[in-house]
């Protein structure tokens, strides 16, 4: 019976550490203070396909992988490993989600490369409005003293130039965090005169809009994800993806 074809995009999305490597030995650990276990495999990394940037160049490094199943791999066997980070320091350990034969390496590599596109498609799918627009003004909202992780929203008024999804009203208002806290560190920041494609979402249920009445509008949108602001050069791709994700 033929093996079912692996769902590589799904495995890529579920993994934080993906690499091609060769089994060096089984039942051993290369990590300080992590005692060997029967389901451990020591893998020599040939090519890192996705990894934490803090780990640097991983070529020829050894990683201890906690396998899901013993007996599926043998020494000298090559495979692409889909794993989750576990221990960094005194060695590297990871927990296996799955592995596929090394002949799938280029397909996995391509899927990793395509992940930003899949993420963009997800953000487009959940957006209420996608517009090409110019930022007319940016204003801070009153300081939010309520909690230390407050987004400290700023309000931007947009002049909509073209709508790719949904129908904007005149003077669309969007809010974006200005706080540098880790929660908000990756959120887009806007500046006056900026022209971009904006993927607009409704505010989350928490950290609501500021108290000032001028900000309490049902037409307020938020920008939270780095993918929510795209250069106009991405328009063709965005239109293509919008065709795929369909109407809101």
């Amino acid at each position: 019976m033929q093996e079912p074809r692996p769902d590589i995009p799904k495995l890529v999305d579920a993994s934080s550490f993906i690499f091609t490597g060769t089994v060096v030995e089984l039942g051993k650990s290369t990590v300080a203070n992590l005692a060997a276990r029967a389901n451990f495999a020591v893998i020599r990394i040939e090519r890192s396909l996705r990894s934490d940037p803090a780990l640097g160049n991983l070529r020829d490094r050894l990683v201890t992988v906690a396998l899901l199943e013993r007996g599926e791999l043998q020494p000298n066997q090559r495979a692409v490993f889909f794993t989750l980070d576990w221990i960094h320091g005194g060695g590297i350990a990871a927990r296996e989600i799955s592995h596929v034969d090394a002949r799938f390496e280029s397909e996995v590599d391509s899927s990793v490369e395509q992940q930003p596109r899949r993420h963009l498609a997800d953000r487009l799918g959940s957006s209420v409005l996608v517009i090409v627009a110019k930022v007319v003004s940016v204003k801070p909202t009153p300081f939010d003293v309520r909690w230390r992780n407050a987004p400290q929203w700023a309000v931007a008024s947009l002049e909509s130039l073209d709508a790719l999804r949904g129908r904007p009203t005149e003077g669309t208002t969007i809010m974006f965090p200005t706080s540098g806290r880790p929660t908000w560190a990756l959120a887009p920041r806007l500046s006056e005169g900026q022209r971009s494609i904006f993927l607009l979402h409704r505010p989350p249920s928490w950290a609501p809009l500021p108290e000032s009445p001028q900000f309490l509008t049902s037409e307020a949108f938020t920008l939270l994800d780095p993918a929510d602001v795209q250069p106009e050069s991405q328009r063709r791709l965005i239109e293509e993806l919008l065709d795929q994700v369909g109407a809101p």
Binding site: S16, V31, A32, N33, L34, D52, P53, A54, L55, G56, N57, A66, L84, D85, W86, I87, H88, G89, G90, G91, I92, R95, P142, F143, V145, R146, W147, R148, N149, P151, P177, G180, R181, P182, T183, W184, A185, L186, A187, H201, P204, S205, W206, A207, P208, L224
Partner: protein
């Protein structure tokens, strides 16, 4: 002769790191101080949550990155049982920040770890974990575990100082009791920090700020201390203020704090710490920061009668933050803070030198550049026996001139011990495994003030006699 050790905990395997490493907290196993855990907050990509751990008293460090989620505020506690209690506010920007209290008996165990404080509480801020193993002859040990935090009311304008108390956190199904602490109206909310401390005789104290008004940019707040004489099981109502006979001694009333307020990019109004003397539960020290004078000032005060009365300022520091206190087994107080001096952040560790509480020695652990962004709302110091263990955030240029308490030697050419790759002579740089320059950033620095009578572990960890 005491020995001072300062260690940049980023391991060599993560030498390419240039992350935030924001808001550090620390826990030490009091029965086995070789076991230490530090948490920091970062923006890992893809999302996961980690804690740093050492099994050799801070000589080497690893990070256990196996908990799924997005990091927000967090802190940790290690009981003498060896159990780790990890309070994490996590979830993505599009979801509610939710309190997870996770438990694991092994620092190298892989997550996901079980949530033991259920049902989960959402919309919380600044969780602060504390654990103490209560030993009773003829009975099983019990881990008394506390998680203090601010709980928001559906993001309306109210936020309440709260503590979850569990009298047996190692049980198969631990029971946490949630205690709302403020017995007076807070306007509009309680301050951000709720800080408990517990004595082995069962006396539990906590401090919080009960705001009385906010008129941008000034908070007017009371500094409140509550006490419970039975491990927190009675709701922290055993210390009342004589002015209104309500639970919670008002140590200082109508304290003025500017908020928002930055000092060299560091956000202020985060300084509240409390420590009980392990030799006498009547004695408790408190520090907070305020703007009563022209400059933001940390104030250390003390009670000798279980919080009933408090002395005037014993010690003050201007232009300083990240205040944290601990008291060792000799009743000696340790006080860490970072002070802005001549355009650099100086990390001081001071100890009382007599019983007056007015005289302190001073060890400058670091004198580092100002980061572009703020680095923390809190830090932490812990005492185990006579020793003090702590963590502070600092810019990570590996120049030995930045670490006055630990002059360079053959074994520590950078002054502080750097586990990540660095140059070992000028020009002082962070480098990767191949010697290429890595950008500087903020790292968590572990420090240990080892008493001369403490038996050292065979770790090879370097230190400087003081």
């Amino acid at each position: 002769m005491n020995v001072v050790r300062v260690v940049d905990i980023i391991p060599a395997y993560r030498s390419d790191e240039a992350g935030l490493n924001w808001q550090p907290s620390i826990a030490v196993n009091p029965d086995n101080p070789d076991q230490i855990v530090i948490t920091t907050t970062d923006v890992p990509e893809p999302p996961n949550v980690g804690f740093w751990y050492s099994l050799d008293r801070g000589a080497t460090w690893q990070v256990n990155f196996s908990e799924p989620g997005n990091e927000m505020d967090q802190s940790v506690a290690l009981a003498a049982s060896g159990e780790l209690y990890w309070a994490v506010a996590s979830d993505t920007p599009s979801k509610d920040p939710t309190l997870h209290v996770l438990r694991t008996p092994g620092l190298v165990t892989s997550g996901p770890f079980p949530d033991i404080d259920t049902p989960l509480r959402d919309m919380i801020d600044q969780p602060y974990a504390l654990a103490i193993t209560h030993r009773q002859s003829g009975q099983a040990d019990k881990d008394r575990t506390y998680v203090a935090y601010i709980e928001h009311d559906d993001w309306n304008d109210s936020a309440a100082a709260t503590i979850d108390v569990c009298l047996d956190a190692r049980a198969a199904s631990p029971v946490f009791v949630t205690v709302a602490l403020n017995h007076r109206a807070s306007v509009p909310l309680d301050g951000y920090e709720v800080r408990p401390c517990v004595h082995s005789d069962g006396t539990a104290y906590l401090a919080y700020k009960g705001w009385r008004s906010y008129n941008d940019p000034f908070v007017i707040t009371d500094i409140v201390v509550e006490r419970d004489d039975s491990w927190g099981s009675g709701g922290f109502v055993d210390l009342k203020d004589p002015s209104d006979n309500k639970p919670g001694r008002l140590v200082a009333k109508s304290v003025k704090i500017k908020d928002p307020q930055d000092l060299a990019n560091q956000r202020l109004d985060n300084d509240l710490s409390l420590a009980v003397d392990p030799t006498n539960s009547d004695i408790v020290y408190l520090v907070w920061g305020d703007n009563a004078g022209p400059n933001y000032t940390l104030r250390v005060r003390r009670s000798l009668d279980r919080g009933a009365t408090w002395c005037p300022d014993l010690f003050t520091v201007v232009n300083a933050n990240l205040a944290c206190l601990a008291i060792n087994s000799d009743g000696r107080v340790g006080f860490m803070y970072q002070q802005l001096v001549s355009g650099r952040w100086e990390t001081h560790f001071r100890r009382t030198t007599d019983a007056t509480g007015k005289n302190w020695d001073d060890i400058i652990l670091a004198r580092t550049a100002i980061p572009a962004d703020d680095v923390a709302d809190y830090s932490r110091v812990i005492s185990v026996g006579r020793d003090f263990y702590g963590v502070f955030p600092a810019w990570n240029t590996p120049d030995p001139a930045n670490f006055p308490a630990t002059p360079p030697a053959a074994s520590n050419p950078n002054g502080a011990t750097f586990l990540r790759h660095t140059t070992t002579s000028p020009p002082w740089k962070l480098v990767d495994a191949s010697g290429q320059k890595v950008n500087e950033s903020v790292d968590p620095f572990f420090y240990l003030i080892l008493d001369e009578n403490t038996v050292e572990p065979p770790t090879g960890l370097t230190g400087t006699p003081h």
